[in-house]
């Protein structure tokens, strides 16, 4: 839209360090990807062993980790060592190499998704790796690779609980992917572009001004109905309560990850957390104005982080408070409810956009 596309992170590196030619671009891209990847992984590291415990404890009137280091923060390295030091048990009859590849695919696919997410500026650096014209479609494609991993793990584990979990994952993804993307398309209709930066900048205008406060034209405010639909579908997409059906520890033990231990288990957990953050990032970009927020544009990254952590908090809240729906109920909600609603939303949006524009 109006504003010129911001300088991407790799371009910034090329310019700043004067890296020459194609090789320079590759090196810059790798460095940038490593930085972004590590930021996300650092979030995960804080979220998994520490924040999750603290948050759950707060919801359940407990204290949780507070002995190791300040606020129990040193539990993070302690847990890391503990988890990695455990024996990797390879059950008899697992289908290798599928069984070994599955735990890698989950975090990898979720991390890939971050390649097109505009995470906003911090000082001179714009944390945005790539901005292809089809970025918006790409991010959903990456995010849904995750279910391949779950099916693979479920099928290769040679365990009936895992198999059930894997099958549940497929059924759930089919039921929710379509409403999710159809709802996202209504945003595309508004923005008129599939480019991530375009979708973000389309939300920078002011919607209304109430008592001197500018309410930005975030799509969550423009179309709250689509926001709620998307949020719900997103919870199912990342498999959190009330839709943690593929894992459902009290029903099918831990579903697809029942047979995984040690590093593989860590990879799965890592993948799930990255996936939650990716879900939060997609939500932020699509409906919450990306990195926009009060203050100068150069602290946008902080707002972005706040938004995805807010989403993380939301998932944890749901996990502490909400019951799990049954698989047949979920599929019913997905196919009979959300799909219809999302198409209604899409048509309505198309009409409105057509009339206004």
């Amino acid at each position: 839209m109006g504003t010129a596309p911001a300088q991407l992170f790799p371009e910034f590196l090329v310019e700043t360090f004067g890296l020459p030619g194609v090789l320079g671009e590759v090196v810059a891209a790798l460095i940038a990807a490593a930085v972004v990847g590590n930021i996300v992984l650092a979030f995960t590291g804080v979220a998994g062993p520490w924040a999750k415990r603290k948050i759950t404890a707060a919801f359940t009137d407990r204290i949780a980790v507070n002995r190791v280091g300040p606020f129990g923060l040193l539990i993070i390295p302690a847990s890391a060592v503990q988890l990695l030091a455990k024996e990797l048990i390879v059950p008899e009859g697992v289908d290798r190499p599928a069984w070994d590849i599955a735990p890698v695919i989950l975090p990898a696919s979720a991390l890939l998704g971050f390649s097109v997410i505009p995470m906003g500026r911090l000082g001179p650096i714009n944390f945005h790796l790539a901005d292809p014209e089809v970025g918006f479609a790409l991010v959903f494609a990456f995010a849904s690779i995750a279910s391949v991993s779950l099916v693979m793990a479920g099928y290769a584990s040679n365990n009936k609980y895992s198999l059930l979990g894997g099958l549940r994952a497929v059924a759930q993804n089919l039921a929710y992917e379509i409403p999710l993307i159809v709802t996202a398309m209504s945003v595309v209709l508004f923005a008129g572009t599939l480019q991530m930066s375009g979708i973000v900048s389309a939300q920078t205008t002011t919607l209304v001004t109430i008592a001197g406060f500018d309410i930005p034209a975030w799509y969550a405010f423009v179309n709250p109905f689509a926001f709620v639909l998307f949020l719900t579908a997103n919870m199912a997409e990342i498999g959190r309560n009330p839709f943690d059906i593929p894992e459902a520890p009290t029903e099918i033990v831990a579903g697809y990850q029942t047979e995984y231990s040690s590093a593989y288990f860590v990879l799965f957990y890592l993948g799930e957390f990255v996936h939650i953050f990716l879900g939060g990032a997609i939500l932020a970009v699509t409906f919450l104005g990306g990195a926009s927020g009060p203050g100068p544009e150069s602290i946008g990254f902080i707002w972005f982080v706040v938004k995805i952590w807010g989403f993380f908090l939301f998932t944890q809240w749901a996990r502490s408070a909400l019951p799990r729906v049954r698989i047949d109920q979920l599929i019913e909600i997905g196919w009979k409810g959300m799909l219809v609603l999302s198409f209604a939303n899409l048509v309505l949006t198309a009409v409105i956009v057509g009339v206004i524009a």
Binding site: N241, A248, T250, E251, A321, L322, P323, R324
Partner: protein
């Protein structure tokens, strides 16, 4: 009244004298063998079904509490303890002797479905064989066990080899038959939602359950045999705490106390009865809180806040019970003829702590209603799942909140009063939903009723004159009830009718000590609730039964 009269509810409700019953049964009765609690009719082993059908259909004895079996010097004997759901004080025992060399007796399973497991247990532990039983296998012990441990010629020193039973390998292929494409799934014995070591042999068609068969006995600790080798006066009382160990200890102790006190004709002082009533209801709150907590785990997932909230509330009751009894789980607080000691000093402090708990309780219950029962997803999950129709519940001998959640208005505290209950003002809670939701709701509402009872007890105890605080009757050091006296007595435990059958032989130890566990009977209803439902519903149904394996397996 004549035999030809059609069965009407009025007819069934009539209370008959033992002689009228004998006339009703006519030639079926070989002789009388009355028990302390009920008239007993000895019948021939091949007329069990006929006798029980007459008693069930024409005399209205629709509740087979328990089947207790035992071996004598010259015969085996199975006793069917019958009651009426409408009035459990009307009891009758049907005594079925079986031949010493060839102990075969007709099965009661076609008349009362609940006899299935009870007879399997009798076969397993005593060795009576039941003709016409659909599935006479061992139930508590491994299938390969040699001998019957409670029979007289059992050699306990003989080494036993317990091999892994069929389907022990969870990876093993199993289909119901060649054509169907069902999948066999072992749920348990180690599974997050089996509430202990319970094994459900499940056959699945996709996500739907075709068949589920509970496999129990993993926690069998010979509780009956241990009680039989302890003296009435002192050595048995610690055991009941270990049956339903989910802090329902005092309720269990009361079951033994009631049976033994009636057997030995011991009168309990009123003051002790009030203390017992108060303690028992505290235990009920603790047990129901845990039931709520674990049900939330099963339905919500394992990080639900409800679990910790309910555990917190249970902790408060637990503190009160600790103050009262000096113990947190294995109370050992009751004595035959009373309780072991008076309320803790200073009494005012105990009363005020109890009142604080009671004052805060409505707020907690309100919170649970907000968090759990009024949640739409929760309702979607639990309403109309795990259906247990009242007739089926009765047929299986289901009692307690499970039966009351199916609208069966049966509570021994009111219907067969003991302790101080009939002096107090409280209500029996029933719900007509017959589903998982109703069973949970019954428990939550019972907590409020229990609180009412405790409050009244505290009022009474506070004003009790100091000189009349008699906590124990005078009971001889050694109790030797009359030879061959038999009694079955039950109390309303946290899970339902917890009954004890004792036969004395003139010594200071019981000759036969049989525990009627409510969980054992309730668990039998699981296939009725689960078949045709989805896996998550089976888990929810199991949670709503609120079983404790310590009590199921004993």
């Amino acid at each position: 009244m004549s035999l030809e009269r059609p069965d009407t509810t009025d007819d069934a409700a009539i209370e008959r004298t033992p002689d009228e019953l004998e006339a009703l049964l006519g030639d079926l009765v070989v002789k009388r063998d009355d028990h302390l609690n009920a008239p007993g009719f000895v019948i021939r082993p091949d007329t069990v079904q006929e006798t029980l059908s007459i008693l069930k259909e024409q005399a209205g004895y629709d509740h087979l509490s328990v089947v207790s079996a035992q071996e004598y010097e010259n015969r085996y004997e199975s006793i069917y303890h019958l009651k009426k759901f409408d009035d459990p004080t009307q009891e009758v025992s049907v005594v079925v002797p079986a031949d010493k060399d060839d102990p075969v007796s007709e099965s009661a399973e076609p008349v009362f479905r609940t006899a299935d497991w009870h007879e399997r247990e009798a076969y397993d532990l005593i060795g009576v064989e039941y003709d016409d039983h659909p599935d006479l296998r061992r139930i508590l012990l491994p299938e390969t066990w040699q001998g019957h441990p409670l029979s007289m010629d059992y050699d306990k020193d003989r080494p036993q080899i317990a091999t892994l039973p069929e389907h022990a390998n969870p990876l093993q292929e199993h289909h119901k038959d060649d054509e169907s494409d069902t999948m066999f799934l072992n749920i348990g014995p180690h599974h997050p939602a089996t509430h202990g070591v319970l094994h459900l042999k499940t056959t699945l068609d996709g996500e739907q359950v075709v068949d589920v068969e509970p496999d129990i006995g993993y926690l069998h600790r010979s509780e009956e045999q241990m009680a039989q080798s302890g003296t009435y006066r002192h050595q048995i009382m610690p055991y009941p705490d270990r049956w339903d160990y989910i802090s329902a200890g005092l309720l269990n102790e009361w079951a033994y106390a009631r049976a033994a006190e009636d057997l030995a004709d011991i009168e309990v002082p009123e003051y002790a009865q009030v203390i017992r009533t108060m303690g028992a209801e505290m235990c009920r709150i603790a047990a129901h809180m845990l039931a709520l907590a674990t049900f939330a785990l099963d339905v919500n997932g394992d990080f639900t806040a409800t679990f910790m909230y309910a555990i917190n509330d249970r902790e408060r009751v637990q503190d009160l019970l600790e103050d009262l009894t000096g113990q947190r789980l294995m109370f050992n607080y009751f004595r035959l003829g009373g309780v072991v000691w008076d309320l803790p000093e200073p009494r005012e402090e105990f009363f005020s702590k109890t009142r604080d708990f009671l004052d805060q309780l409505p707020e907690s219950v309100e919170e649970y209603h907000n968090l759990v029962t009024s949640n739409e997803i929760f309702q979607m999950r639990t309403i109309d799942t795990g259906i247990l129709p009242p007739e089926v519940a009765k047929d299986y001998g289901a009692t307690g909140p499970v039966a009351r959640g199916s609208g069966v208005d049966y509570d021994l505290r009111r219907d067969d009063p003991y302790g101080y209950y009939d002096e107090l003002d409280w209500d029996v809670v029933t719900e007509d939903g017959c589903d998982n939701f109703s069973r949970l709701l019954v428990r939550m509402r019972e907590v409020e009723e229990s609180a009412k009872i405790i409050e009244q007890c505290v009022d009474l105890l506070e004003d009790w004159p100091e000189e009349e605080r008699n906590i124990q009757a005078n009971v001889p050091r050694t109790l030797r009830p009359d030879d061959d006296a038999e009694i079955y007595r039950a109390v309303e435990g946290a899970k339902g009718e917890l009954g004890i059958y004792i036969r004395s032989d003139g010594t200071d130890k019981p000759a036969r000590f049989k525990i009627r566990s409510p969980c054992f009977s309730n668990l039998q209803t699981l296939p009725e609730m689960a078949n045709g439902e989805y896996i998550p519903d089976v888990i929810a149904a199991l949670g709503s039964l609120d079983i404790v394996l310590g009590e199921v397996d004993r």
